[in-house]
């Protein structure tokens, strides 16, 4: 059977993860939960347990008011359109070992959930703390994202924060950006004698899921606020117009920042020379890096084209 609420809370304490717990009558929806803990600040989480056509399972945990579009997520995961459905009720008990209305990232502590992929709302990070059910719906606990991450790492999971509301285009040159979060194998609902085998699979898969999550952490932790950095795909990197614009923007920004009444008064005619020096010092390293990335990307594209070049017809 799955871990009990008490065991989970004890585990959190052992790991020295700060949390506050709030008992309340059993709740099955976020609205109901809000009646009891909605006034405490922080963010309420809504948790979806999803399944794809190949019987792979996902928990999507988001702020209550984040819009989650399953169709978009499905495409971003590389499952095509309409590849994600709500998981059937029985699987809640079988895989996550939690009752109805109690989907929570914390349920990944159970071995049976080892192949379930977890997608966490990036917006959790903007909250002081968020509420989750600790394996039972008669209680909510508040956790900071740090606390949640610490817990996930303790069960050998890599926390993957995703901009759930983003809708990037996916096509031939833009692979599905969340593809690495798809579990490497489907969940095997095994009888006891086989559980040993599937737990062995779990460790291996945990490693590879972890590795994939590391990769996705790399690509999704870019601040999406800064649109320039959000999509560092080859097509964007070698876009000459865009690069020129970005570089000139950085330079202008610096110039405008430095040309103040104060500075003009202080340096007068020398301001020009001073500014010129400052630009060179401050921007040189960044420009160098950006342009080296550009060079290497352009070379790679050429190299790739050369490798797939058809011989000349003569």
């Amino acid at each position: 059977m799955g871990l009990s609420k008490e065991h989970l809370l004890a585990r959190l304490k052992e790991l020295q993860i700060d949390f506050s717990q709030y008992d309340h009558p059993v709740v099955l929806t976020v609205e109901a939960q809000a009646k009891y803990v909605g006034h405490l600040g922080g963010g309420l989480s809504k948790n979806l347990f999803l399944k794809d056509k190949k019987s792979r399972f996902y928990i999507v945990s988001a702020l209550a008011d984040t819009k989650v579009d399953l169709k978009v997520l499905s495409v971003r995961l590389g499952l095509g359109k309409g590849g994600l459905r709500m998981a059937p009720e029985e699987s809640l008990g079988e895989i996550l070992q939690v009752p109805l209305g109690c989907v929570t990232p914390l349920s990944l502590v159970n071995e049976s959930a080892c192949n379930v992929s977890l997608l966490l709302d990036q917006k959790f990070k903007s909250q002081e703390f968020c509420f989750f059910h600790p394996l039972s719906n008669d209680m909510s606990i508040s956790l900071t994202t740090n606390g949640l991450d610490k817990f996930l790492k303790s069960i050998k999971r890599d926390p993957s924060y995703v901009d759930l509301e983003a809708n990037p285009s996916v096509g031939k040159d833009q692979p599905p950006d969340l593809a690495s979060l798809v579990p490497s194998s489907s969940v095997v609902l095994a009888d006891p004698p086989e559980t040993a085998a599937s737990s062995k699979d779990c460790t291996e898969n945990t490693v590879s899921v972890g590795n994939k999550s590391t990769k996705s952490t790399v690509s999704t932790s870019k601040p999406s606020i800064n649109a320039k950095k959000a999509q560092d795909k080859p097509a964007n990197i070698t876009d000459v117009g865009k690069m020129v614009d970005d570089l000139l923007d950085s330079t202008s920004l610096l110039v405008l920042k430095e040309i103040t009444e104060e500075n003009i008064k202080e340096h007068g005619e020398e301001l020009g020379e001073l500014l010129s020096k400052k630009i060179k010092n401050q921007l040189a390293a960044e420009l160098h890096n950006t342009i080296m990335i550009f060079k290497n990307t352009a070379y790679t594209e050429g190299f790739h084209a050369g490798m797939h070049c058809h011989p000349k017809r003569s």
Partner: protein, 417 residues
């Protein structure tokens, strides 16, 4: 990996060392420095002057740094200015040849034993990139997936996978694809490379390799025959697609000083098979967050800053774990100042804060007790976050196709331009 002191007394360079070690053994317990173990004397710090004496390499002095500035027409790298790359062998010869118009190539590498790279791992690569840009020379980077397969008992596939993953972080350091060749041993060993391996192997007796690397009768033969693999990238004929007809080309190896015993073997063999001895330029060890006496370990994520750490992680790690040389109370601190010898935030700034003037200011104020540890840590957090963020951005731009291109056995026509 068991440690054994260098016992080989044959080769000239090693003769002095052997004598020195015998003498020292009579005195107090020594510090231990070799490719598999780095340990200071009884809970103290590594004595680098003694190490240079012991190994017989040269210190890099200010006039050498000035010479580099003159030859490259640009400011020498932070690591050179601050004595972080502080020792060398034959670097002067490399510069002499360079002045005569004879180029050289760079050789560095990584043993891909883990996916997570920390800042300490990046240091030789950051310095090598500077050398590549400043001198405009080509670079070969060896990924010893075979070594890790053997020593860490990984499967062949896993070590190859780690090699490719590490290659991405290495590429993210900003190497120029038109002058860089990255290769993994499993992919590349063979042909001319293997011929050189055999030539080197013939020059090193079993006893010698046991003396240098501490092999025992229980170690498998894979390990015993590995050393030539790491030696031959020092010889240009190992890369016929790059340096054909340039057997006289010199090689410069940037590395941490614990690799020195290893390349002594290579330098010993080189003249016997008709090649130049590779030159070395060596760095200090990057201290763990917990301090000089602490050990940076892949199994303790809090002993180092990883390139995958978030800004939050960096902030929390520095605040919680960076060993402070400040005093216990503010009053005491204002009176005595911080102990810069053991203070980790200050040491880390020495590595990563580019601005000499700002660093000197911090050193002065913090050492006098006018600046508090918290402020120094805050500045460090800023600096490290910027570095890690820049690395992450560059890393995100590295595709599998780019790795393939860097690792393709292809000519590099403009590698000296």
């Amino acid at each position: 990996m068991k440690h054994k002191q260098l016992l080989d007394l044959d080769s000239q360079e090693n003769q002095n060392i052997g004598a020195m070690e015998i003498k020292e053994n009579g005195e107090e317990e020594q510090q231990i420095v070799n490719p598999w173990k780095v340990e200071a004397k009884e809970g103290g710090k590594i004595d680098y002057d003694k190490l240079i004496d012991q190994f017989g390499c040269q210190r890099i002095n200010q006039s050498l740094v000035k010479r580099v500035r003159r030859l490259t027409s640009r400011a020498p790298h932070v690591f050179l200015r601050r004595d972080i790359f502080f020792a060398h062998r034959d670097f002067n010869e490399i510069l002499d040849a360079y002045e005569r118009g004879e180029k050289f190539y760079l050789y560095t590498g990584r043993g891909p034993s883990s996916e997570a790279l920390h800042l300490g791992h990046l240091i030789p690569f950051m310095f090598t990139k500077y050398l590549q840009d400043a001198f405009k020379v080509p670079l070969v980077i060896q990924l010893t997936d075979d070594e890790k397969c053997m020593w860490k008992n990984l499967t062949v596939e896993e070590s190859q996978r780690l090699a490719r993953e590490n290659a991405k972080d290495i590429i993210a350091c900003g190497f120029d694809i038109t002058r860089t060749f990255i290769f993994s041993d499993f992919d590349y060993v063979g042909g001319a490379f293997y011929k050189n391996m055999v030539k080197v192997g013939k020059c090193v007796t079993y006893n010698k390799v046991v003396g240098i690397f501490g092999f025992t009768g229980e170690d498998h033969i894979g390990k015993v025959s590995f050393p030539p693999v790491q030696a031959v990238p020092s010889f240009p004929s190992s890369f016929p697609h790059l340096f054909s007809g340039q057997d006289n080309l010199r090689c410069l190896i940037p590395c941490a000083i614990d690799q020195d015993p290893y390349f002594r073997m290579t330098r010993d063999v080189a003249p016997r098979i008709g090649y130049h001895k590779p030159a070395l330029i060596e760095s200090l060890f990057f201290p763990a967050l917990q301090g000089e006496t602490g050990k940076m370990s892949a199994s303790d994520p809090n002993s180092a800053i990883y390139v995958t750490d978030s800004a939050k992680d960096i902030k929390s790690k520095i605040n919680k774990f960076a060993f402070s040389g400040g005093q216990d109370t503010i009053e005491k601190h204002r009176e005595l100042g911080a102990d810069l010898e053991v203070d980790i935030p200050y040491k880390y700034l020495k590595f990563f804060l580019d601005d000499d003037i700002e660093l000197a200011y911090i050193g002065k104020e913090y050492g006098a007790g006018r600046m508090l540890t918290g402020e120094v840590k805050q500045r460090l957090i800023q600096v490290l976050t910027e570095i890690v963020e820049r690395h992450r951005r560059a890393r995100a731009a590295v595709t599998d196709e780019m790795v393939d291109a860097f690792m393709a056995v292809r000519p590099l026509p403009n590698m000296f331009d």
